[in-house]
Symmetry: C2
Subunit: 420 residues, 2 copies
């Protein structure tokens, strides 16, 4: 039997070769392949559900927690949602080959940029089988080969989905190696994947912060990474409370476990007396625990938990909210840039100058005026789908859609020019 290293080298080499084919594949052929995958998946629904039941049974046996079980589980509704997402990707505009900024230079040459695939994407994710299809379809559409390494609890589900994908690829005449799902749960495979610089162009990890930090530290390949989402809303003195109240409620309570939920609420002292009791009432209905500084406690009373320095750094991902009363926009911006995770932060204000200042000075991947932080995702931004959200500044920042899986090459058109 071959070693993990040999296996991964083979996978990498095959991905590299498939990526050359894919890079030159016209949109129509890529869309036909995605449609063939759609059909193959639809026809394999029973097999995929059976494989998922195996994974679920084992997960129950191993007493895995309910959040993991929820992410792992597939059912007919979820398969339909996956197929719906695939349809959306087929409908997206193909970014590849787009030429922009083509302009003449004084020498008479024309210079422009052409969008091209990155090559091979390595995806490492937790036990969420729907990600297997989502990532594979985004990679194919953007002309990239992909190597998928899902969580070990989902191995049977992922293999069943992979089989359907490969069936579709074969039917459409594209190499089956365009999408490869690692067939081992051995962790050494991840170590290989993130260091095969000759075969893999970018790593996209999805999962908990510690996983992503470990991958980033050990990877020899660029990583599009998503760490915390410690998001803020600043209710400025000139906020329209008819906007501030629903937004602050929505950003905290619409969903708790998501990266674009608000974790700290900053309130200008000039509006705190009026705003805080009203929002606290709404939070009380949702049983959100409030943690505040002395000023907050003075207004809201002793039911508010004392906030600590540690709270300002914390992404609760649950029904807890830290609240701070600030003296104005400068303190709010300083707080956000110091304690935040540069993910998504919002100001609620009717003041033009302060909105403009907040947009410019807050150093976050999404900066929002008068809307909920919950909008920060690829679907809401019109990317059609997202392969992840980047908290980095290099290459891609914020929600990463098809374009984040591409690069641009320069094209030069001349009619005989030489350099003087």
């Amino acid at each position: 039997m071959q070693s993990i290293e040999q296996y991964m080298q083979t996978v990498g080499n095959q991905a590299r070769q498939a990526s050359s084919v894919l890079a030159g594949t016209p949109t129509l052929v890529k869309n036909n392949a995605l449609s063939a995958i759609y059909t193959a998946l639809e026809n394999s629904t029973a097999q995929i559900l059976a494989a998922n039941q195996q994974d679920m049974a084992k997960a129950h046996e191993n007493n895995l927690d309910s959040a993991l079980l929820d992410r792992l589980e597939l059912n007919p509704t979820r398969i339909k949602a996956m197929l719906h997402g695939l349809k959306d990707v087929i409908a997206l505009t193909d970014p590849i080959g787009e030429i922009t900024d083509l302009a003449y230079r004084p020498t008479g040459i024309q210079i422009g940029k052409m969008r091209v695939p990155l090559g091979v994407v390595g995806m490492i994710y937790e036990s969420r089988p729907n990600v297997t299809l989502e990532a594979a379809s985004l990679a194919l559409k953007s002309g990239n080969a992909i190597i998928l390494r899902g969580g070990s609890e989902a191995i049977n589900s992922n293999q069943a989905i992979a089989e359907a994908i490969q069936h579709g690829l074969k039917a459409s005449g594209l190499p089956e190696t365009c999408v490869q799902v690692i067939n081992t749960t051995d962790r050494a495979a991840v170590g290989q994947l993130i260091t095969m610089t000759e075969y893999v162009d970018v790593i996209v990890p999805r999962g908990g912060k510690s996983l992503i930090e470990r991958i980033s530290n050990e990877a020899k390949i660029p990583v599009i990474k998503h760490l915390d989402g410690n998001c803020h809303i600043f209710v400025e003195a000139q906020a329209d409370l008819h906007k501030a109240l629903p937004i602050a409620l929505n950003a905290k309570t619409h969903r708790y476990g998501v990266c674009n939920a608000m974790e700290t609420l900053l309130v200008d002292e000039k509006v705190a007396e009026e705003f805080l009791p009203r929002i606290a009432e709404l939070y009380a209905e949702k049983q959100v625990e409030l943690r505040g500084d002395a000023a907050v406690k003075r207004i809201l009373g002793s039911s508010v938990v004392d906030v600590t320095e540690e709270d300002w750094y914390t992404e609760y991902l649950g029904p807890i909210l830290a609240i701070k009363v600030v003296t104005g926009i400068d303190e709010a911006i300083s707080h956000i840039n110091k304690y935040g995770s540069h993910h998504t932060d919002a100001i609620i204000t009717e003041n033009y100058t302060l909105a403009r200042k907040f947009l410019t000075q807050v150093d976050s991947s999404s900066v929002v005026v008068n809307a909920s932080t919950r909008f920060a995702d690829g679907f809401e931004y019109g990317l059609g789908a997202e392969i992840g959200i980047s908290t980095d500044k290099i290459h891609a920042r914020g929600p990463v859609g098809l374009e984040g899986l591409t690069s641009q090459k320069w094209i030069v058109l001349g009619d005989g020019q030489i350099r003087q």
Copy 2:
């Protein structure tokens, strides 16, 4: 005395703080600072030349090679050229704050992108004092703080230039720590610089391939790297020889030691008999050594050196050229994608369909039709200046100007929207 580690931590921390100030600095203030640096440098010409003479004397003592001495040397003409380059940077459009793609979504929010600085740039380069000013001015213009680590042979020159830069920064009211030149030649400083993830956002190395490979391997921070420039020209069967001859001559002989010089010439067999003797005559005048396969030798005779497999991979950076006769565009593209370094490759042809195919299928940072590969640089492309040329696909590809030192954040403008 403090350790190298303490020193570098201080430098990094200062750079991070300066970068916050710079990020919010208006164009006018940045331009005023660059103008103040211009004046300070002009006034310090004598001191800079004296410091350079110390470096040159030591380099002579140590019997350093003539190429290094040439790169190290400053003289009044070169200082003038540096000042001229600085004027050019002042005239460039400030990329920071530019908002693009601002459009409404069905929810009524507007989504767009705002260009922002990366933060702190770490630059590692050989003993070329002019790079100190060039990199500092590009970083300042794009709102980034920069930490510069030049070659040890140029330490006195670099410190003298740094002093003038800091004089200018001070005069303009910006923190002097916007530009910091490492004051030690200890190599441990480089090791620190490329791993201080909390303080440095991107590393730009310039120098030999082995230096860049070592930095890329050891860095914990994204590296904009520039490895080989093994560039090709493919003279297609329908090439206009009035274009092909001057371009092939220019791309090889205009300058030998540059990354965008041609290293391998590919000639379609249908035009080889006519083209090769004529270009060989031109190369003979320039004493370029030709290395060819059997078909080339049959046409040009035995003065052609036998080419080896190794030659196809080689960036000669000198008066040597490998030549191959190919059966057509498919062989040419395969050869380029296999042996090339994905830097810059050109086709000479009058055929529309083949030009289009070459542009699409050649996987290089610059792909050229009917012009010399020598055009591949930031000035010729209209970037105004370049901080380097990237042979990567992630973040920046090809010549990297101001825009390569920036990122984009998303901005969201609403009037009270919440997520449903």
